[in-house]
Symmetry: C2
Subunit: 354 residues, 2 copies
């Protein structure tokens, strides 16, 4: 198969973890006889530094002309504490999501038996957790207008807005995923307060009869924030709006104790995007210590979701499991001080594949 993959390493540890995923993807391509072309683009703080724009047109062209995007991480602390900064790395990310039409962010939370003891939660709560969020990614308060300040600058406002179609297309993805899993869908909203949430709930209620095999639950976002910690095994597929999804997927990411390993996919258009859920972790940048497995598993999701190549996807997750079993891992998850470098883990995985 011919595959055009855009690489957006971004900031902080992004370039290092992407480099390992590239080794793995190349190895898979070689083994299975795929022709893979990579094109690299700038995004985030490094793009601002180089061009003044966190998502330059040149980068968009590379992405739009690809089949899939492998994304590292963005963000630099120098932009975080300046509320008046005119350009921020995150704007690049948001513009990219919107221009590429990536309206659904798929975030699984699952456990690795060898890592589950790292969870902050007790073993009986975590062991076997297997849930997935479908977070709406191109709507809500992230993009709603009007937003800004009054003339004197003493009042600020944001608008949360959702159309029925935006909810329907995200919800259908959730229903379909639930049909292939444990057939439980939880619609997360704040319908006791917000008009947008009431439209979410109403729309999901209207769709439910089309998926009679799926049990649908409606829960308020505050209740989910509790139950996710109390008993995460209660959940299968969760669907929610952009801002709630931002908060809850990050909350969920700490449950398994394997945050550095969690992948994600952003879907919705021809081009699909894959990225680890961890951030740019600037303190570790350039030290060859960052955990590349979240990015490698994102590449596994890419073979599956973007190219329909389940065998390739499985091979990658198999070698990741092997690296865990044999302790070929970075310092964040290494036991007994036997840590490997980021680049060594990448080399080892690629060698195992070939």
């Amino acid at each position: 198969m011919e595959m055009n993959i855009a690489l957006l390493p971004g900031d902080g540890i992004g370039p290092e973890v992407i480099a390992q995923a590239v080794k793995v993807v190349k190895a898979v391509g070689k083994k299975f006889g795929h022709t893979i072309t990579f094109k690299e683009g700038l995004v985030g703080a490094c793009a601002i530094d180089a061009t003044g724009d966190p998502y330059p047109d040149a980068t968009h062209e590379i992405c739009a002309g690809s089949d899939a995007v492998l994304f590292g991480a963005i963000g630099d602390p120098k932009y975080d504490n300046d509320p008046k900064a005119k350009v921020r790395p995150e704007q690049g990310l948001l513009r990219m999501r919107q221009k590429l039409g990536l309206f659904a962010n798929v975030r699984p939370t699952f456990t690795f038996p060898s890592l589950v003891h790292k969870s902050p939660l007790k073993l009986d709560r975590v062991d076997g957790v297997d849930l997935v969020f479908f977070r709406e990614l191109t709507g809500g308060v992230y993009f709603g207008e009007p937003r800004g300040r009054n003339e004197q600058g003493t009042k600020a406002f944001d608008t949360n807005v959702y159309s029925k179609e935006e909810i329907v297309r995200l919800a259908r993805m959730g229903f379909e995923a639930a049909q292939k899993r444990r057939k439980l869908l939880t619609c997360v909203d704040k319908a006791n307060v917000m008009a947008t949430s009431r439209l979410w709930r109403e729309t999901v209620q209207e769709l439910a009869p089309e998926y009679p095999d799926v049990k649908v639950e409606y829960e308020f976002v505050d209740a989910v924030a509790m139950r996710l910690i109390q008993w995460p095994k209660a959940y299968d597929v969760l669907i929610t709006e952009n801002l709630f999804g931002d908060i809850l997927t990050d909350e969920a990411s700490v449950i398994s104790g394997s945050m550095g390993l969690m992948p994600s996919a952003s879907l919705g258009s021809k081009v699909k995007l894959f990225e680890p859920i961890h951030g740019s972790y600037p303190q570790a940048a350039g030290k060859d210590i960052a955990n590349p497995l979240g990015t490698v598993l994102s590449a596994s999701m890419m073979f599956d979701y973007a190219f329909g190549l389940a065998e390739e996807a499985k091979l990658i997750s198999d070698v990741v499991n092997l690296s865990l079993a044999e302790g070929v891992v970075t310092e964040d998850i290494a036991e007994d001080g036997k840590a490997y470098k980021t680049s060594e883990v990448g080399d080892w995985l690629a060698a195992k594949i070939l």
Copy 2:
């Protein structure tokens, strides 16, 4: 001292837990020679059923004429899954907060040594957690206009809005609390996306020099949702807007393993309100099994925050600790099946006080 206390038992288990707090407050009044007058009002689903209004004017008059309000819980499942319901119990709560000017919700999370093993988190993460949220309670997306639907009903919108003054008055409470505690203040926002959050961050940055002894940290809401579970001991005082506070205070409430015991206070005007953080728990209503200790500890906060009576407040929390130590507790926290009834716990506490 003369004390006028409004009782708003509300729905579900509300009346049962309030009844126990009343026993305790009466006992304290008797012991210390205070003249306490109670007036009861309807709020929530029971108020809708009786009057069509979840916060009737008669109830508002009782509250506005009191020094403090003891509140149980509201909410009834019959209103939750009808997104088109015209009147909802929660509207009563929101109207009450706004009309009484209760702009700050104070929500501590702390541990009881005898209960900490009930936490879903591992002991080393939880043991000794002691944090407090100051959640803004009368602004943001809860009250912002415009909100609603377009004409065809296919699009819904909410408005999040904050003025500088709303942020200042809440933030000052947080700074002052931090000065009396471990001197760390965390401002929780989403300043990388939301205009309101940038005003929050900017305003807190402007206030910070007035409190040179307080260290201020700025964190995004998604990061806090993670770190609250990973290492809750990192926090002391957290300040945040209404919606983020709703989600995060509920998340925080499960950390200690003592959710049924967590009290809260809502401040900002002459009349102050005190309520347990748990909900109306309709499945348990009328069974005399609900845990009254969250409401009793809310009454303790009332003596402290509303009347400045620290000794009375301490006596109540002391007898609660005694009930825990002696196992005079309801089934949710009882060990070895030796559970007491809600009313028995209330009687026992009142007897211990006298």
